[in-house]
């Protein structure tokens, strides 16, 4: 038997190791790889929340990108006035993050309240409508800057570290640390009592209610937790790219996040990380291959931008057929069977989808 405290410690330790490894990795990677690492970390914030939402409470959100967008706009709309007022450094960054959390949290709360009342396709429909409406909303609300979006202040390398770390590396650090702060609570939630309640609600709402659990509260809570995390991801993207625009968070991107968590393994934080890496690396790999092969110009033109979607679709089909638990389950299965052999008697937490 593992106690709550031991479990918490294990999660924190794993988070610390992963963070340290990621920060260490920034020294080995070149500028562009560091930029990609930062984007992966930002996407990880969103997929980690989404995987809990879909995998544990069974709420299907097709508009998760909107929560990222809310975080991005929240960051930009607070950090930019702060920059104009002459505020800089950690204070401005903290203010921006607070803005991101407030806006993303508010949108998440509204969706969560709806989510507690709407089931399955209706919730999916609502979130779908939201993501489709995003460009219209940004066009109609003047401060959101229309299709061009809004800018976010540039976070340069602090004086003490200049010369030691590059801008991209610094941004990767920020991204990795924010991702650690965003995802660790989700991992704790998942492995603790809250995770148990979410599984109970997903399994059978009536039974859960009989056991004294409020399904509405659990579902709303899961939505807010996922939204806060996604909002932090959006804020990180705003820092890294210095802008937020509706085009970055369209329906295709939302669906990509969903595909990523399914391919990675529903309900698994590791799976969310794998999925986040796929979202960033697959389009880039395809682009590199397509341009490297030397195809005729018009075929290359037609493939650019479309091939990635095709590959994701094929990947989704292949993974669900071969490893229904997702890539993390397929990879993790080997690792955990190994650790099982080394440390007998230790129980691995199971998600509903792993049955």
């Amino acid at each position: 038997m593992t106690t709550d405290r031991q479990r918490t410690r294990a999660v924190l330790l794993r988070a610390a190791v992963c963070t340290l490894l990621a920060v260490g990795a920034t020294f080995v990677l070149d500028d562009y790889r560091n930029y990609q690492l930062a984007v992966v970390a930002a996407v990880f914030c969103a997929t980690a929340g989404l995987t809990l939402l879909v995998g544990l409470t069974g709420q299907l959100s097709l508009g998760h990108a909107v929560l990222m967008a809310a975080g991005g706009y929240g960051y930009a709309l607070t950090a930019t006035p702060a920059a104009d007022a002459g505020l800089g450094g950690p204070a401005r960054f903290a203010l921006g993050i607070a803005g991101a959390l407030v806006l993303a949290g508010a949108v998440g709360l509204l969706l969560g309240l709806a989510g507690a009342r709407l089931k399955g396709p209706y919730l999916a429909g609502l979130t779908l409508a939201l993501v489709i409406a995003l460009p219209a909303i940004t066009t109609q609300v003047p401060v959101l800057g229309g299709a061009a979006g809004v800018g976010a202040p540039f976070e340069g390398v602090p004086d003490g570290l200049r010369g030691v770390v590059g801008v991209e590396q610094w941004h990767a650090w920020i991204a990795v640390l924010v991702a650690a702060v965003a995802v660790t609570p989700l991992a704790l939630l998942r492995s603790g009592r809250a995770g148990l309640r979410m599984r109970a609600v997903h399994g059978d709402e009536t039974a859960a209610r009989l056991a004294g659990i409020s399904p509405a509260r659990v579902k709303t809570g899961a939505f807010v937790a996922g939204a806060l995390s996604a909002g932090l991801g959006g804020a990180v993207l705003a820092v890294v790219t210095q802008s937020v625009s509706p085009g970055a968070y369209d329906l295709a991107y939302s669906l990509l996040l969903l595909v990523a968590v399914v391919v990675g393994g529903l309900g698994s934080i590791g799976g969310a990380a794998v999925g986040a890496a796929l979202v960033v690396l697959v389009p880039w790999l395809i682009d590199t291959v397509v341009t490297g092969v030397g195809l005729p110009a018009d075929l290359e033109q037609r493939l650019a931008g479309n091939a990635a979607v095709l590959v994701f679709g094929a990947l989704l089909v292949a993974v669900t057929v071969v490893w229904p638990g997702g890539l993390s389950h397929a990879l993790g299965g080997r690792v955990s069977s190994l650790t099982h052999r080394l440390r007998p008697g230790r129980k691995v937490p199971r998600t509903l989808t792993e049955r």
Partner: protein, 423 residues
């Protein structure tokens, strides 16, 4: 007892791993040689972001192909200072977020020497800071926004197009000269394009010289309400700050409603061959007398058009020849000119210096207006009209200097040396 030892060993292992991860790469960060990125003994690599897919692709995806064809032509003549030009075209789907990714890829992974002709106001705005922070020459941005002309804030960015102030003021002045006492109205895109163009018209006609203004959003393919409002306001001249697709939509919708004003369009939405593609057989009738502006050689009898047509046949598989073709090849010409003047071993600084020296003139109807404190591009445009299905200059040319619109003399440079700029 056993657990503490394992924990301690684990902690030590982690500490060692962390230290290794932090220290090892530091050693690898040692000095690199400072050769100009993208320049090798045989090649010079530059890149661009273009909408090859998505909503803007139909209007603009042919530009980079034309530029590529021109570079193929130059490369076939031996390149510039013995170097072949490699032009990397990345698709951004006209999405600012994708632009940021592909431009980083070009700069940080492909290590291009410069970015040439990045297309679009919202898309290019997203990478403006990035390019200037990294001191990458950002030449000939493919957009008429006035944002590119800010040498103090953005020393590496150079515009190319006549900006929307120049175009708006020229059309405003032409309306005042040729259609005096007509009521002038403006239909514009609801962004920087429409707003800046309107300001330009007002430079020529005064704040209250415009009878009515309407705007449209590119996500809504219906301009009936706007055209109806312009008709009701009694507009006799309607100026369009529209992209080609919406120019065709506006003209077609108005014709259906029996509204036949004199149309005057900015160059981004006034390319007759492209409009014909949208309007089909009705184009010559609907667009008779259609006024637009241009700053590049476009007359059917121009030597430049003849040269570009032959390059288009040879290196571009004979793709349809339109304003985009001339634009793409002219951008290539101006770049080769700048690169030639940047010296035998060009650096990013020498390229910027060459442009700021004012020696790079381009092949437009007036020389490019670059100097140390002006990165704007063309400040002179000629008026074109469509007569019997042929779009050509009418000979009237306007120049905007500050807030003053004046007539100017067109002076396109002659074609020399197979269209490859010499020293």
């Amino acid at each position: 007892m056993r657990t503490t030892t394992t924990r301690r060993t684990r902690a030590r292992a982690i500490a060692a791993l962390g230290a290794a991860a932090l220290v090892l790469p530091l050693a690898a960060c040692g000095g690199t040689d400072e050769a100009s990125p993208g320049v090798s003994a045989e090649t010079i690599t530059i890149g661009t972001h273009q909408p090859l897919s998505g909503p803007a692709a139909a209007g603009y995806s042919s530009i980079s192909a034309a530029t590529q064809a021109y570079f193929d032509h130059v490369n076939a003549q031996g390149g510039v200072h013995g170097r072949q030009i490699e032009y990397l075209v990345k698709n951004d789907g006209y999405n600012p977020a994708t632009t940021q990714t592909v431009v980083r890829e070009l700069v940080q992974q492909d290590e291009v020497f410069a970015i040439l002709n990045g297309l679009g106001t919202p898309t290019h705005s997203a990478v403006l800071d990035f390019l200037n922070q990294n001191e990458v020459p950002d030449l000939f941005v493919s957009s008429g926004s006035t944002a590119w002309n800010d040498p103090e804030e953005y020393p590496y960015t150079f515009g190319y197009n006549a900006d929307y102030h120049v175009e708006g003021s020229a059309l405003g002045q032409y309306a005042a000269d040729e259609h005096a006492d007509s009521s002038v109205c403006v239909l514009g895109q609801d962004d920087d394009y429409g707003e800046t163009f309107l300001e330009g018209v007002q430079i020529a006609l005064g704040e209250d010289g415009v009878t009515a203004t309407e705007t449209y959003d590119t996500s809504n393919q219906d301009v009936t309400a706007q055209i109806g409002a312009l008709q009701a306001a009694g507009c006799e001249v309607v100026m369009l700050a529209t992209v080609n697709g919406f120019t065709a939509l506006a003209v077609g919708t108005a014709a259906q409603m029996g509204f036949m004003p004199t149309w005057m369009a900015a160059s981004a939405g006034g390319d007759y061959p492209t409009l014909t593609g949208f309007l089909g057989e009705a184009a010559p009738q609907l667009l008779q007398g259609f006024v637009s502006v241009n700053y590049l050689p476009f007359s059917p009898d121009s030597d430049w058009v003849e040269l570009f047509t032959s390059i288009n046949e040879e290196y571009n598989d004979g793709a349809p020849f339109d304003g985009n073709t001339v634009f793409g090849m002219s951008v290539g010409y101006a770049f080769v000119e700048a690169l030639t003047r940047a010296g035998e071993d060009p650096t990013r600084e020498s390229l910027v210096e060459a442009l700021e020296s004012g020696e790079v003139t381009g092949n437009g109807i007036a020389p490019l207006a670059y100097s140390a404190d002006d990165h704007g591009g063309y400040d002179t445009v000629g008026i074109t009209t469509v007569v019997d299905g042929v779009q050509d200059f009418v000979g009237t040319t306007y120049r905007l200097d500050g807030d003053t619109v004046s007539t100017a003399e067109p002076s396109a440079p002659p074609v020399e040396g197979e269209g490859v700029p010499a020293e």
